[in-house]
Protein backbone atom coordinates (compact mmCIF):
# COMPACT_ATOMS: atom_id res chain seq x y z
CA UNK A 1 0.00 0.00 0.00
CA UNK A 2 1.60 3.22 -1.17
CA UNK A 3 -0.69 6.17 -1.60
CA UNK A 4 -0.44 9.90 -1.22
CA UNK A 5 -1.54 12.81 0.99
CA UNK A 6 -1.63 16.27 -0.58
CA UNK A 7 -2.06 19.33 1.63
CA UNK A 8 -2.77 22.91 0.61
CA UNK A 9 -1.27 25.13 3.31
CA UNK A 10 -2.98 28.49 2.83
CA UNK A 11 -2.87 29.58 6.47
CA UNK A 12 0.28 30.96 8.04
CA UNK A 13 -1.10 30.56 11.57
CA UNK A 14 1.16 28.85 14.07
CA UNK A 15 -1.36 26.19 15.13
CA UNK A 16 -2.43 25.42 11.56
CA UNK A 17 1.17 24.97 10.41
CA UNK A 18 1.46 22.48 13.27
CA UNK A 19 -1.68 20.65 12.09
CA UNK A 20 -0.28 20.49 8.57
CA UNK A 21 3.09 19.04 9.61
CA UNK A 22 1.56 16.55 12.06
CA UNK A 23 -0.75 15.19 9.33
CA UNK A 24 2.09 15.26 6.80
CA UNK A 25 4.56 13.44 9.04
CA UNK A 26 1.93 10.98 10.21
CA UNK A 27 1.20 10.14 6.57
CA UNK A 28 4.89 9.65 5.77
CA UNK A 29 5.31 7.53 8.90
CA UNK A 30 2.44 5.29 7.80
CA UNK A 31 4.02 4.62 4.44
CA UNK A 32 2.43 7.29 2.24
CA UNK A 33 3.97 9.90 -0.03
CA UNK A 34 3.22 13.52 0.87
CA UNK A 35 3.11 16.77 -1.08
CA UNK A 36 2.56 20.09 0.73
CA UNK A 37 1.52 23.00 -1.45
CA UNK A 38 2.22 26.34 0.26
CA UNK A 39 0.16 29.28 -0.94
CA UNK A 40 -0.80 32.76 0.33
CA UNK A 41 -0.18 33.27 4.06
CA UNK A 42 1.22 29.78 4.30
CA UNK A 43 4.02 30.71 1.91
CA UNK A 44 5.30 33.33 4.38
CA UNK A 45 6.23 30.44 6.67
CA UNK A 46 8.76 29.20 4.10
CA UNK A 47 10.70 32.45 4.30
CA UNK A 48 14.02 32.18 6.11
CA UNK A 49 13.54 31.98 9.92
CA UNK A 50 9.75 32.42 9.69
CA UNK A 51 8.47 28.85 10.13
CA UNK A 52 7.30 29.32 13.73
CA UNK A 53 6.58 33.05 13.49
CA UNK A 54 2.85 32.88 12.67
CA UNK A 55 0.20 34.04 15.18
CA UNK A 56 -2.27 31.67 16.85
CA UNK A 57 -5.47 31.43 14.77
CA UNK A 58 -7.53 32.09 17.93
CA UNK A 59 -6.74 33.81 21.24
CA UNK A 60 -3.41 35.15 20.03
CA UNK A 61 -3.82 38.28 22.24
CA UNK A 62 -0.99 40.17 20.52
CA UNK A 63 1.32 37.22 20.97
CA UNK A 64 0.62 36.53 24.65
CA UNK A 65 -1.73 33.66 23.79
CA UNK A 66 0.92 32.18 21.54
CA UNK A 67 3.57 32.41 24.29
CA UNK A 68 1.21 30.56 26.63
CA UNK A 69 0.54 27.93 23.97
CA UNK A 70 4.27 27.46 23.33
CA UNK A 71 4.80 26.96 27.07
CA UNK A 72 1.97 24.39 27.20
CA UNK A 73 3.40 22.59 24.16
CA UNK A 74 6.86 22.49 25.68
CA UNK A 75 5.38 20.95 28.85
CA UNK A 76 3.63 18.32 26.70
CA UNK A 77 6.98 17.64 24.98
CA UNK A 78 5.68 18.52 21.49
CA UNK A 79 8.42 18.62 18.88
CA UNK A 80 9.27 22.08 17.47
CA UNK A 81 8.14 23.05 13.96
CA UNK A 82 11.75 23.14 12.80
CA UNK A 83 12.25 19.55 14.00
CA UNK A 84 8.98 18.52 12.32
CA UNK A 85 10.18 20.08 9.06
CA UNK A 86 13.47 18.16 9.37
CA UNK A 87 11.54 14.92 9.91
CA UNK A 88 9.36 15.74 6.89
CA UNK A 89 12.35 16.27 4.61
CA UNK A 90 14.19 13.24 6.01
CA UNK A 91 11.18 10.99 5.32
CA UNK A 92 11.01 12.19 1.72
CA UNK A 93 8.12 14.69 1.80
CA UNK A 94 7.88 17.24 -1.02
CA UNK A 95 7.22 20.98 -0.66
CA UNK A 96 5.81 23.12 -3.47
CA UNK A 97 5.68 26.93 -3.47
CA UNK A 98 2.90 28.81 -5.28
CA UNK A 99 4.48 31.20 -7.77
CA UNK A 100 1.39 33.43 -8.12
CA UNK A 101 1.54 34.14 -4.37
CA UNK A 102 5.17 35.16 -4.88
CA UNK A 103 4.10 37.66 -7.55
CA UNK A 104 1.24 39.05 -5.44
CA UNK A 105 3.11 39.32 -2.15
CA UNK A 106 6.39 40.32 -3.79
CA UNK A 107 8.32 37.31 -2.53
CA UNK A 108 11.55 36.43 -4.35
CA UNK A 109 13.04 32.93 -4.58
CA UNK A 110 16.00 34.01 -2.48
CA UNK A 111 13.61 35.10 0.32
CA UNK A 112 12.53 31.46 0.64
CA UNK A 113 14.28 28.36 1.94
CA UNK A 114 15.03 27.03 -1.54
CA UNK A 115 16.90 23.99 -0.19
CA UNK A 116 13.64 22.45 1.09
CA UNK A 117 11.42 23.44 -1.86
CA UNK A 118 10.97 20.75 -4.52
CA UNK A 119 9.50 23.13 -7.08
CA UNK A 120 7.87 26.50 -7.73
CA UNK A 121 4.56 25.98 -9.45
CA UNK A 122 0.90 26.81 -10.04
CA UNK A 123 -2.50 25.19 -9.65
CA UNK A 124 -1.86 22.55 -12.32
CA UNK A 125 0.79 20.91 -10.15
CA UNK A 126 -1.57 20.81 -7.17
CA UNK A 127 -4.29 19.19 -9.29
CA UNK A 128 -1.83 16.64 -10.65
CA UNK A 129 -0.68 15.80 -7.11
CA UNK A 130 -4.22 15.81 -5.64
CA UNK A 131 -5.53 13.59 -8.42
CA UNK A 132 -3.06 10.90 -7.37
CA UNK A 133 -3.92 11.30 -3.66
CA UNK A 134 -6.10 9.35 -1.25
CA UNK A 135 -6.13 12.28 1.17
CA UNK A 136 -6.21 15.95 0.27
CA UNK A 137 -6.84 18.76 2.75
CA UNK A 138 -7.02 22.55 2.68
CA UNK A 139 -5.43 24.07 5.76
Amino acid sequence: MKDKTTLIVESGDYDKIYSAFIIANGSLAMGMDVSMYFTFWGLNRLKKNKLDKGPLSKMNFLGLGKLFMKWKMKKANVRSLEEMLNDFVQLGGKIFACDMTMDILGIEKEDLREEIITDFCAVGTYIKEARESEITLYI
Binding site: G26, L28, M30, G31, N77, R79
Partner: protein, 74 residues
Amino acid sequence: MSKEIKVNCMGENCPVPLVETRKAINKAKEGDILVITGDHASSKKEIPMAVEAMDLELISVKDIDDYWEIKIGV
Protein backbone atom coordinates in the same frame (compact mmCIF):
# COMPACT_ATOMS: atom_id res chain seq x y z
CA MET B 1 23.03 -10.82 9.85
CA SER B 2 19.78 -9.62 11.38
CA LYS B 3 19.91 -7.53 14.51
CA GLU B 4 17.67 -6.01 17.17
CA ILE B 5 17.32 -2.23 16.96
CA LYS B 6 15.99 -0.27 19.93
CA VAL B 7 13.84 2.84 19.40
CA ASN B 8 13.26 4.77 22.61
CA CYS B 9 10.19 7.03 22.46
CA MET B 10 9.66 7.46 26.19
CA GLY B 11 8.06 10.82 26.95
CA GLU B 12 7.55 11.60 23.26
CA ASN B 13 4.22 12.95 22.02
CA CYS B 14 2.28 12.80 18.72
CA PRO B 15 3.53 12.17 16.00
CA VAL B 16 7.08 11.39 17.21
CA PRO B 17 6.75 7.65 18.04
CA LEU B 18 5.30 7.01 14.55
CA VAL B 19 7.94 9.17 12.88
CA GLU B 20 10.87 7.63 14.78
CA THR B 21 9.53 4.15 14.04
CA ARG B 22 9.39 5.01 10.35
CA LYS B 23 12.94 6.40 10.37
CA ALA B 24 14.15 3.18 12.01
CA ILE B 25 12.29 1.05 9.44
CA ASN B 26 13.99 3.02 6.64
CA LYS B 27 17.42 2.37 8.16
CA ALA B 28 16.82 -1.30 9.05
CA LYS B 29 17.72 -4.20 6.79
CA GLU B 30 15.40 -7.07 5.94
CA GLY B 31 15.28 -9.49 8.85
CA ASP B 32 16.05 -6.87 11.53
CA ILE B 33 13.75 -6.55 14.53
CA LEU B 34 12.72 -3.14 15.89
CA VAL B 35 11.93 -2.84 19.60
CA ILE B 36 10.04 0.39 20.19
CA THR B 37 9.26 1.59 23.71
CA GLY B 38 7.11 4.55 24.68
CA ASP B 39 4.31 5.86 26.87
CA HIS B 40 2.19 7.86 24.39
CA ALA B 41 -1.13 5.98 24.60
CA SER B 42 -2.41 6.48 21.03
CA SER B 43 0.88 5.38 19.49
CA LYS B 44 0.44 1.93 21.03
CA LYS B 45 -2.60 1.53 18.75
CA GLU B 46 -1.26 3.46 15.79
CA ILE B 47 2.19 1.93 15.33
CA PRO B 48 0.51 -1.45 14.62
CA MET B 49 -1.73 0.35 12.06
CA ALA B 50 1.39 1.69 10.32
CA VAL B 51 2.97 -1.77 10.42
CA GLU B 52 -0.09 -3.24 8.70
CA ALA B 53 -0.20 -0.45 6.11
CA MET B 54 3.43 -1.08 5.22
CA ASP B 55 3.06 -4.87 5.10
CA LEU B 56 5.58 -5.50 7.87
CA GLU B 57 5.36 -8.12 10.62
CA LEU B 58 3.89 -7.16 14.01
CA ILE B 59 5.66 -9.53 16.40
CA SER B 60 4.25 -8.33 19.73
CA VAL B 61 2.62 -5.48 21.67
CA LYS B 62 3.25 -5.58 25.40
CA ASP B 63 2.44 -3.42 28.43
CA ILE B 64 5.32 -3.21 30.87
CA ASP B 65 4.69 -1.20 34.07
CA ASP B 66 3.67 2.25 32.81
CA TYR B 67 4.96 1.98 29.25
CA TRP B 68 4.50 -0.21 26.16
CA GLU B 69 6.88 -2.21 24.00
CA ILE B 70 6.20 -3.05 20.35
CA LYS B 71 8.29 -5.46 18.31
CA ILE B 72 8.30 -5.26 14.52
CA GLY B 73 9.92 -7.56 11.99
CA VAL B 74 11.27 -5.66 8.98
